[in-house]
């Protein structure tokens, strides 16, 4: 399960960066790039908190 969530997170990071390369190459409009970047951002922000910091520790640990 963790692997699946991580994969989705990395997909989000990919969507944040890769569309800009297509804009640079002239194959994607700025409007579509911004929408894809927003989608990537949402995917990352919604999935990363579940695994980025590893297992949650108690405060006293």
């Amino acid at each position: 399960m963790k692997r699946l969530v991580q994969s989705v997170s990395f997909l989000g990071l990919g969507l944040t960066l890769v569309p800009s390369l297509f804009v640079f190459a002239g194959t994607l409009s700025l409007e579509h790039y911004k929408l894809m970047m927003l989608a990537g951002t949402m995917i990352w922000l919604c999935t990363a908190p579940f695994w980025v910091n590893g297992r949650k520790k108690n405060i006293e640990d």
Binding site: L13, V23, A48
Partner: protein
Amino acid sequence: MTKNKLSLAEQMAAVNEYEREPVPPKKVKGFKSFVGMVASEHIAGTEFVIGPLFVLHGAAASDVFLGLLVGNILATLSWALVCAPAAVKTRLTIFYQLEKICGAGPVAIYNFVNGLLYCVAAAAMIGVSASSIGLLMNIDAPGLTDLYTSDPLWILIIFGIGVVITVVATFGFDRVSRFANIFAPWMPLVFLASGIAMLPTLGVNNVSEFWSVAETKIWTGTPVAGATQYTFWHILIFAWLCNSAMHIGLGDMSIYRYAKKATYGLASGFGMFIGHFMAWVASGILCAVALQEGISNPSPGQIAFMGAGVAGAICVVIAGWTTANPTIYRAGLAVQGLMPRFKRWKVTVVVGVTATLLACFPAIVSKLDQFLGIYALCASPVGAIVLVDIYVFPKMGLISNVAFEKGSKFNSIFMMAWIFSIVASYILYELTNADFYFFMAIPGFIAGGAFYLALSLVFQKKDYRKEVQPLTDS
């Protein structure tokens, strides 16, 4: 009662940040904890201000890239070779280490200056975050010269951000670090992507065209009307010393005292090269696009929105959070040093509320650069004094932590060295007509260490040196 069912106040009271004792070995943290924190801390909304500064002041492209490369290497080395080793050796905050050297009196002044500066800095970050949310909600941000804002929606946004930042900082280093880790990989990509995507607007359609456009349309070597000319040395000193209070001033002892090894200071390189290299270059590109489109003085929110749409605006909000979190945390430690009887978390709440209230007064926040400059003047000599006390004094038969050893509340030698070095560096600032106070951080650092060593050699009494053995507890 189980750990999970502790009340909020009990949970906060259970957080021990070792404000007045060394961090125990079992509490030290791995390299990754520092990478996440510094990488996100040094990507702040203000990167959208500093990057454009180089464009507006007519820095040449070669000066920007070379100055940032050398300056950021020097900054990283300052953390790795100066700050982190001192932090790992003592495992104390700068505030308590300094108190042991100079006594409760002088350290109260230092802590007050620190607490005030951190509050203003955090307030600025809250303001930057709020400006971006305001942009998304179509609410006009107050002008930088407005004394206060009376828009209730704006105040609501400020307080919403202030609550998040204060709660995270109140839970201590661990929570600040974990919060930052979530955003650390994503934020740099937003900066990078927006820079890349805007290049065709400037006429760059393949990599080989970048340099010629960089020299003719971005970092042209010609300042805009009314701005001074920035050279290689401006860029280098900016990159090296804009955080001088944190590295050579030892402010980040508060963070690196948790490092397992002193080499973890190299983690700062991630913050420098992502935040103060890539992000400054990317925001410079965005500024050039804004200038091309007739926006002469773009705000961070405007630049980010232009380059990355809503994701860019979200990035500015989060960049403000992740920088303000450790800032409020440090402010809490500084003010707690003034009032050691009070719990750190309670002090941090008060500091967070203060920063949030300050954020409602843009005119105060707009003076941030002046506060930072004054702080750099004050902090650099202190860093040198602490280093001399830790490393040089034992080798010269002088007593380290002299106030602690004597039970004194006022180390007059420290005060003299501190005042002399601040005055000397300020005179140098006036004589050289430097652009920013923090350009004098290195002269102040050298003067502080030299004055303290010379005065201690003269005034530390020989009989006292014989009576008291050097401390070994840190």
